[in-house]
């Protein structure tokens, strides 16, 4: 993994990458992306948070794909554009996090409720080089042998 994260401080890299959230030290509620200032639980007056790694596995809440190239500021991974899939994943911390599906996986590979695992993959190349982003990888299936994310 030589790519630089596309955004600072949102996830770790390495063998077991994880999303980085905030945990309110008062009420224990977890937030992703990280939050500062005041706890967004209106019943809590907490103002301190610790950084916390979110669970790397979750279950698919829903999923789709992007068959047309999204507009800027999206930066496509390749030219010509290759569609990719997206999933909303519910993690044990009680929240749903969006992400693209790992390369090689499409909407045919998952169903609502399926288990997926967080990976970090190269997303695009900009003037600073390769930039990486978190993605969701189905746990029980192997990627199909195509270059794209859609079936």
């Amino acid at each position: 993994m030589t790519a630089t994260p596309a955004i600072d401080g949102w996830f770790t890299t390495g063998d077991a990458p994880a999303l980085l959230g905030s945990k309110c030290t008062t009420c224990g509620t977890v937030f992703f992306p990280k939050t500062t200032g005041f706890c967004k639980n209106p019943a809590c007056s907490g103002e301190e948070f610790t950084e916390t790694e979110l669970s790397r596995r979750g279950r698919v809440w829903s999923y789709t794909d992007a068959q047309y190239q999204p507009p800027a500021p999206y930066i496509p991974a390749s030219d010509p554009y290759v569609p990719f899939a997206l999933a909303a994943v519910e993690i044990p911390e009680g929240l749903v996090v969006l992400g693209q599906l790992a390369a090689g996986f499409g909407v045919a590979d998952i169903k609502v409720g399926d288990e997926v695992e967080l990976v970090v993959e190269t997303s695009y190349v900009d003037e600073t080089g390769e930039r990486s982003i978190w993605k969701w990888r189905p746990v029980s299936v192997e990627p199909v042998e195509t270059t794209g994310g859609a079936q």
Partner: protein, 400 residues
Amino acid sequence: MSRDVAIAGVGMHPWGKWGKNFVEYGVVAARAALADAGIPWPDVDLIVGGETVRNGYGGYVAGATFAQALGWNGARVATSYAACATGAQALDTARARILAGMSEVALVVGADTTPKGFLAPNAGERWDDPDWLRFRLLGMTNPAYFALYARRRMDLYGATSEDFAQVKVKNAKHGLSNPNARYRKEVAAHEVLESAIVADPLHLLDICATSDGAAAVVLCSVEYAQKLAQKHGSGDLVRIKAISTVTPTFPNTIIDMPLMSTDSSAVAGVPERTFKESIGDAAYEEAGISPEDVDVAEVYDLSTALELDWIEDLSLCKRGEAEQLLRSGDTTIGGRIPVNPSGGLACFGEAVPAQALAQVCELTWQLRGQAEGRQVEGARVGITANQGLFGHGSSVIVAR
């Protein structure tokens, strides 16, 4: 104290792609609504504009822009913005001043011109703007969010692509003779299913277009409307019974544009109602009626599948049963609870600040019995529902 205000007049500029300035659309709609009300512009003492954020400074100050275009008359002014719920928010601002006794006749106007293709965020790099980040980091477009909801219906409730296509077929039929609709052409299910997939499972024809358009509503106190009726001899008064503009309750557990995550329910617990359910619930409570009292609904069919979600969010049927309602013809004009008799966004296309007002225009025509070629017979109570972003949404209940 009565919480009702009267709808004195409604009007639109037809939806389409006309290539003109949004101000012109708004003025045409405003004049139509004033003519419908029989109220001259100088008698309006409050003008509320639905803001458009893609038309320069004039769009940011839409209320004043319309006031100037109609001719400065010294009226109070306000401009509201609430994404797709903008029109309802503007109505609420007008209603409150009338009920507070601070205004008598209010003109509410929304108008927009919209670009082609995906709605994209404004230019620039904004690493702290979630609307920018969702595109940059994930390539997450608006249709992708609609598709998440659609796919979930399929996996959970057995909805099919054919069901979604049938929503389009129904709405296309409803809008056939609506003079303000942009698309007035029957669509067959196979045409929807054969159109390109944009975001699986949604096809191009499952997703609404963006349009130029405008809608305007003249509100007044019930007393003023009764005086007016004596003068013009109009019949039953259409009244606004409720405008719901609630925000979510923490934790907001359904992923919503433009966010990349939801709140966590682990500590605070799952709320009794989802945000969209709470929008309708607040409207029913304010109006003092229940879902069974509703005769007709205009809901925000940004996608065909979303219409099914809204039907359930408004408690017009139980969760997971909207497909059954559709299949049995109950949401078609002539059925138990016709949905989108105007043709909905499917026939209009989206014109953000005008849309929630257009729904109220349609319900007004329906309740007056003036919805020629698409009349829901005997309709006395109507409800609208609006998608929003960032915790906005709205529901308006009108009755006569």
